[in-house]
Symmetry: C2
Subunit: 783 residues, 2 copies
Amino acid sequence: MYFGTISVTITRKGNRLWAIWSYPFPLQWCTCHCIEIKIQLGFILLSCALRQVRERLKKDVEQMKLQDPNFRPGLVVLQVTILHSITEVNENSSVHGLIVQLPLDSIHKIDTEKVTNAVAPEKDVDGLTSINAGKLARGDLGDCFLPCTPNGCMELIRQTGLNVFLLCSDEKVILCVVFIIPNSDIVISRSCVPKPIDRLAREVGLLSDEVELYGKTKAKVQLNIIKRLQAQPDGKYVVVTGYAVSSFICCTVLFSLLRIPAFFCFLSTGGAAGGGYSQVIPMEEFNLHLTGDIHAITAANNLVAAAIDARMFHESTQSDKALYNRLVPLSGGQRKFSPIQINRLKKLGIEKTDASTLTEDEITRFARLDIDPSSVTWQRVLDTNDRFLRKITIGQSPTEKGYTREAQFDITVASEIMAVLALTSSMEDMRQRLAKMVVATSRSGQPITTEDLGVSGALTVLMKDAIKPNLMQTLEGNPVFVHAGPFANIAHGNSSILADKIALKLVGPEGFVVTEAGFGADIGMEKFFNIKCRYSGLRPHVVVLVATVRALKMHGGGPIVTAGMPLPKEYIEENLELLENGCSNMKKQIENAQHFGVPVVVAVNAFKTDTEAELDLICSIAKAAGAFDAVRCSHWAEGGAGAVALGQAVQRASEAPSNFKFLYDLELPITDKIRIIAQKIYGADDIELLPEAQHKVELYTKQGFNNLPICMAKTHLSLSHEADKKGVPTGYVLPIRDIRASVGSGFLFPLVGTMPTIPGLPTRPCFYDIDLDPETEQVNGLF
Amino acid sequence: MYFGTISVTITRKGNRLWAIWSYPFPLQWCTCHCIEIKIQLGFILLSCALRQVRERLKKDVEQMKLQDPNFRPGLVVLQVTILHSITEVNENSSVHGLIVQLPLDSIHKIDTEKVTNAVAPEKDVDGLTSINAGKLARGDLGDCFLPCTPNGCMELIRQTGLNVFLLCSDEKVILCVVFIIPNSDIVISRSCVPKPIDRLAREVGLLSDEVELYGKTKAKVQLNIIKRLQAQPDGKYVVVTGYAVSSFICCTVLFSLLRIPAFFCFLSTGGAAGGGYSQVIPMEEFNLHLTGDIHAITAANNLVAAAIDARMFHESTQSDKALYNRLVPLSGGQRKFSPIQINRLKKLGIEKTDASTLTEDEITRFARLDIDPSSVTWQRVLDTNDRFLRKITIGQSPTEKGYTREAQFDITVASEIMAVLALTSSMEDMRQRLAKMVVATSRSGQPITTEDLGVSGALTVLMKDAIKPNLMQTLEGNPVFVHAGPFANIAHGNSSILADKIALKLVGPEGFVVTEAGFGADIGMEKFFNIKCRYSGLRPHVVVLVATVRALKMHGGGPIVTAGMPLPKEYIEENLELLENGCSNMKKQIENAQHFGVPVVVAVNAFKTDTEAELDLICSIAKAAGAFDAVRCSHWAEGGAGAVALGQAVQRASEAPSNFKFLYDLELPITDKIRIIAQKIYGADDIELLPEAQHKVELYTKQGFNNLPICMAKTHLSLSHEADKKGVPTGYVLPIRDIRASVGSGFLFPLVGTMPTIPGLPTRPCFYDIDLDPETEQVNGLF
């Protein structure tokens, strides 16, 4: 539980209210609308426990008594508290003005002048505020002022219309707003009233025509902004990677970029919006349907799947001529190719557009895709943890005439269309990528694409809104793009190139854009550089490698952590030896980042059980290993204020010389590219291609896909392929079981081990706790 | 192709433009924003063929010459055209003002005064417009004025910034805007610039806090509006049913209600937005993701499916005690039930809330649902026409340890959750309905619900936005709610109760709300009355029964119509005998409507091949059969203007006495209720329950579901169960194959024959023609 007494004043300017806190609090409520503050306060008060307030106040009183034996509680507590608060506000550069409202009621006997004069002149918004003070004083508030119950508080807000909440303890302290915030991400998320998203959009420089609102907290940004800001120089580009990424992202930055959360249907692991005071809000929106991008991908992906099986079925039951007559039907006495069909003709080398002139052989080649059913690599997807769909047999209804086939469902983020969304650079480019996705191989060894199936245009139509990045905000009102979330297992696990590009233009040359590379540094960062940067043409200025004492101790040989079980003592007590052992892994990750020639800042994410010595140890080892800097941060607990040092380090690093380079040339043979990653990044001695992988190397080389970058599908729990090998494993050979091609998104993905592609529900899924309050429409139990 | 020369003037008032057409055109562009008109005109012009314009003008000139041998082309054509246009505008009550802009160029020698004086005083917006005239005249427009090519037109718009397009033929006619509109629904849909949806929302009386925008053309309406308008008397409630419903709906009404289209993924049958000049716009939005309601249903439905199989799996591998320990885990040394679990305890008659006090027997009863796998009636769904999912085997991955099962996918609109959405009356009611959906039977014969699975709260959360009706508009700018689209095959096929209720409040006592009952009158209308009206408590004032010459001829014994084949001559030539035979079916449907005591207006939807005699015949037979009135309408071709007579008839009918009654009492035994529908509505002699149906009657009676209304799952192509029996079949017994229960939505559905629940893709699906123009983001080929 976090709680504290916080002095607050709220005043009306025009039809806006200004709220000023005396405590530095990770909320930005300035210029909130009246109604929002009402909701906000109403909500918090309902969960507040007055007993705790009183106890806190009693403690204050006791401290005062220790300092001054003549101290009389009540009156002076107030004055001292106010003076203390004013001093803090004076020193807090993020508070731009202060209005003090004092009770007129004489029984309080406050030295008004003393209080007033305490306000620093530059913070004194409107001289003194005795004008409004009366309204806040006891007289105006009537009976509901004392005593205060949560219901009484609500009533008070309703009656006064002042939108400020006054809690009164037995000591009759007024002018204090008490926040009692249980330490739960969803409550913190809700405790902050988001800015209206159209206002945030204006603040970051978007024109109203460039923004499509989705309710009041989400918006899509149109791609034409890129053209408008063409001439604008880019901002600084920072990639964050490591062990616990999203928390950091949400608080330090001018513009940050996150991936869409997967598994929104109530996994037991919670969401991806960040945590503590580092969150994207509103959390419910972030983790539920958002703006429907995942749904669009599900629909598009499954249209391809349906088209594949339907096509195989129709081909198996029709002659070439019949197929052709149906594919290019007579209309007004003529047969006419659709543009998509002309694309297929071109691919086949048939330079004809008149459907009546095809030879019999050309008709066969055009009409019959001749897909080898065993070669189909395209799977159906759902955004549900439905383990019973991991392996299924389809086509068992009599209407499918016995053409059954083994198939599977993956989760939606594993769809190649999600990877396309993340890597595309424009609508036109997406159209092309969605056309060249390879779904199977023909019996003669030709790759069969979505364009061959005729479905590429329809896919583009289904994805036309999903391509626009989603604008949201952090708890502190900073802009965040939440866009694309390709599976980090079999895809590259990075947010979208388009969102990065737009953000870099919006922040301009003085600004910073922080983007997330999912999973560990050996996976997410390597793919960020070799795949995402290659396609985007963007070059990052700084790598932020996030480290935690706990994760490094695990790499140092600490015991296994089991969810739901108490944490072993190694992780909650100081253990420098374990930590130092584990730092070998961090050193390797720093080295990995240096392969790409970009300065590395290590951010040590501090937990309350971490000791000074432990935190110091990480920092000194990191610096010795060549990190540009290593700093502690505490944004989870403190919001942006907890990451100021990190921000400064990143700023300095961004001005340091950098010499970006890729790890491998695309022109190298597939096997060489895989070997380079395995040796340089994972520290393997060599790689071993199992027969299926060997076959794919030959097939893809023959099909001309050998120049694509490599997207390793490997566990993120170890640098090696074995999750339990911690630290820096050496002396091993990395086995490559199989290789797949994502030709539309533009990479080959070697499979190291077996990748689960659809999770299951546990015996007691989270949904047991989830419900909607039908009255308030508030979502309970989501996190 | 539709084309015509249309005089138009556009003027700026403040930062808005007023556009006035001389021809009555089913578009309302008044007060459009500048930018929208630009896009609008730009689009149409790109597809215009100048040749046709010239030909039309030549024809006009020739006609003039016939009338006046001294006629000189060019000059006078212009003057006559303008005068003619002005006269039309004067008489058109939907045009509120007219501004005439004339060329200053003297070579045209127009009698300016004559033209000016022709404008009726009440339409003369700002005296005369010679002020702006210069800008439109030749001199200002420079070289691009003559000759005009489509590119030139675009350039002209760009250069002048006037947002009016001037086409100039060889005859130098100016002031004419030429529209050439191919007769395609999507082009008509696009040719109309929709009002900004927030403006429409204001126009219908919604407060801005009650509206959630989804882009610029769609919005969701919050349910709290019902409370605000509680005291407001309802409007008149009109239900439309028959053979071709949606076209009518879109044009005649103050407020109309449509179902969400299913199969958005590119079926070959097109969308559900209406057609011709009776459409909901923008059509692409309507037929693509809309606001994501169908996606939410897919996600919610499949979460239930995953929960069922996961639960059966976990129960099969765990002891009662282990199950209990996982379902009610230790947390801080205590086991605590979630509220959903307490609901299950109550259902079991266990009045305990302390998890430590359950007896062993109670633990078993609580923890083990003991679902009989063969009894699972809940299916997975997708909004894709994927025929290979009609029958599948799931659970074949080794991780599921051999617990395979036969299953199937349905299309999303067939989900019970869709029916719940359509029939619910509030958030609280939806929560309850989503909790009592029966998904299977336990081995001891108990119904297993979504609440037993613990998933009911999560479903409500997933559906919390879908419950809000979607506001869109017709081509003529009338408001439309598009909300819920339960499958008319196995559910009740009507739009949502909530949307109807809100609309009735919004239009107020003088207004009319038109709602659609899907499928034929014997299905849709019967379900509308017996199910929807029963749950909503609403009573309709008028039934509109839509009839077409073509459909009635088919019922009269006309030849079979095959899609893609030319229409047999019986349907395009006058055939009064065939038509009169077929009218027996219409008479029966009028009688069916009369069972419910509500006046019937027959709307004869006229096609251009219908003869006067045919249309008259239908009207006279309808009136003789007891219809309140029978009128022709032509809204497809003419928009609202084509349905004025119908509107007037409906208005008169709404004032006629009505005596609403249900067809059957809920208290009757299941079999009796089915028999009443079969005999009174379908004209069957009796019903026959096959063994499975007989078993279900007993099961559902035992389980206490016997008091639910009946939702027949029967073909809509015949009054009987055999699609090819046209007219009014008699002397048959209706076979009931099986009965299912939708306990959450609240009905039993007897199956008459086999219902396909997921369609397939043809050899050449529509998607071959669909594509997105990456530059304009325009969707091509969708319809």
